[in-house]
């Protein structure tokens, strides 16, 4: 549900547990819940992925089109994001409901992917034609907001891993491009530099990852980081209303890169097992 109300007693129980590094579902502060990933489930998309983690599920679908590049960036492809929360998640999201949330999500994705090296491999003819990838994120079930960001980024990365674009050749005779006639002549994208998001949530005196809804309801605020596979921070943002002290955040930095690398490795392993199947 979108909002969960907890009593002071419940919050106190939860926070004291976390101070002892013990969460209500038995995890420690830096444990993540199990993630199920599924690839290649939408025949109408060039790449797709479904991710599920307990009570949150997200589908990402990639579609492609050929467009002319922006004049300032002739050698770079384009990526468009669109996010939508299905009414299946909660009656609140019927119609245009949940738009503030999806706009925030899309903005964060756009900022993180602005200078991604992925854009370089989307060039067809420099200055003339580039691929434009439209990535649609459909949120079917919404757990805690903080963990939603992480899962969306994993879904997008997995969908991009799954993406196969047809190879395009430049034909000098007709001064135009030709798409290969062989349906198996496909190009895979280099997704190693695609960032993933790590959200850390301050509950009591500790930072945790992947909070449940109950934990989120008793949290102070969350910090959202977008990190690539080399540990470079691409974008960050604070979520929620509370305020955070600066010293613990500084101490947090090595832990974040560790968590991010772990997630990157997890996606690589999962996706490799899909392609080998």
């Amino acid at each position: 549900m979108a909002e969960l109300k907890l009593s002071e007693g419940e919050k106190c129980y939860l926070i004291n547990g976390i101070n002892d590094n013990f969460r209500i579902d038995g995890r420690s502060c830096w444990d993540r819940r199990e993630i199920e990933l599924e690839n290649n489930l939408l025949p109408s998309c060039v790449g797709s992925a479904l991710i599920r983690s307990v009570n949150c599920s997200v589908i990402a679908g990639v579609k492609m089109s050929l467009v002319s590049p922006d004049s300032g960036r002739p050698g770079k492809g384009k990526i468009e994001f669109f996010a939508d929360i299905s009414a299946n998640a909660d009656p609140l999201f019927e119609g245009r409901g949940g738009q503030e949330m999806t706009v925030e999500l899309v903005r964060f994705f756009e900022d993180s992917f602005k200078d991604c090296s992925l854009l370089d491999c989307l060039t067809v003819v420099e200055g003339k034609q580039v691929w434009c990838l439209s990535i649609d994120i459909l949120i079917l079930e919404i757990g805690a907001r903080a963990s939603l960001y992480d899962l969306c980024s994993i879904a997008v990365k997995a969908a991009l891993y799954d993406t196969r674009l047809p190879k395009v050749y430049f034909n000098p005779d007709i001064m135009d491009i030709e798409i290969s006639e062989d349906p198996f002549d496909l190009m895979q994208l280099d997704v190693s530099k695609v960032p993933i998001f790590v959200t850390v949530t301050r509950i009591g005196n500790n930072y945790t990852i992947d909070p449940t809804q109950e934990e989120e309801a008793s949290s102070i605020a969350s910090l959202l980081f977008s990190v690539d596979n080399c540990g470079t921070l691409l974008h960050s943002k604070k979520l929620g209303h509370g305020s955070l002290h600066c010293y613990p955040i500084k101490e947090l930095i090595p832990k974040i890169s560790e968590v991010a690398l772990e997630l990157h490795n997890f996606i690589d392993d999962q996706c490799k097992s899909f392609t080998s199947r």
């Binding site: 998309c45 939508d84 299905s86 299946n88 009656p91 459909l138 079917l140």
Partner: protein, 242 residues
């Protein structure tokens, strides 16, 4: 040259369809109940390549007007942006609004609404992948989700589409057959036990003499769909028991 929708086969008398089916064959149907945790009832229906997710919330308090005699049914149908081969824009889709209204009417008459005065039942349908017969798949999915939610319903509402190509009625139309020029499509949603038709919607011209055959094809389709739906429900209940 016009591509042919029905392919003549050399060995058998009956023609084959573009996806290799016989005229009266329904695509493979997979159903699952209780796919979401948060909703009161949910289901997943995969009819060929058409995939629908349905959730039911309620009966709960109404938002706005309430009816002192029965509960209000609120159906919302939506095609996702990536459901078809070209990317779609979500809002202002007239066909979606029409299907939502049709579904509301179907389930308003199928659910025993008089048991829940002053309340509302929400049914949400999300078409993740569209490959023809979306409306029929949605009726089936919604009906399963309502059963999963434990809301009293007269019968398992089942639906199937049928068309008429080359003087031959065909059951369960796919997207290629749907988009080929002038194919008449008839979708029937019914209460199978009483043989009551809750929804009958057709588009495309068809001679009245042929309507009988097409209706029979759709009703036959409904029966085979119902068989699988009932099987799924029984399996689900068995799982809950164990």
């Amino acid at each position: 040259m016009e591509s042919r929708i029905l392919l003549e086969s050399t060995s058998v008398k009956t023609p084959f369809r573009i996806d290799g089916r016989k005229p009266h064959e329904v695509r493979s149907l997979t159903c699952r109940l209780g796919v979401f945790q948060q909703a009161d009832g949910s289901s997943y229906v995969k009819l060929g390549n058409t995939q629908v997710l349905a959730t039911v919330y309620g009966p709960h308090d109404t938002r706005g007007k309430s009816n002192p005699e029965k509960s209000i049914i609120n159906c919302k149908f939506r095609l996702s942006t990536f459901s078809k081969s070209t990317r779609r824009n979500l809002h202002r889709d007239i066909r979606s609004i029409e299907i939502s209204n049709n579904l509301t009417q179907v389930f308003d008459s199928a659910i025993l609404t008089e048991l829940y005065p002053h309340s509302q039942i929400d049914i949400y349908l999300e078409v993740v992948q569209s490959d023809g017969s979306d409306y029929a798949a949605c009726i089936n999915a919604a009906s399963l989700a309502i059963i999963d939610a434990g809301i009293p319903i007269k019968d398992v509402v089942c639906a199937c589409s049928a068309g008429f190509i080359d003087n031959q009625p065909i059951t369960d139309i796919n997207a290629v057959e749907e988009s080929s020029n002038g194919t008449p499509i008839l979708t029937i949603g019914m209460l199978p036990k009483d043989k009551q038709i809750l929804s009958m919607e057709s588009s495309g011209g068809i001679h009245l003499d042929n309507l009988n055959d097409v209706m029979d094809a759709a009703i036959e389709g409904c029966k085979s769909v119902l068989f699988i739906m009932k099987q799924t429900i029984l399996n689900h209940i068995q799982e809950l028991k164990d």
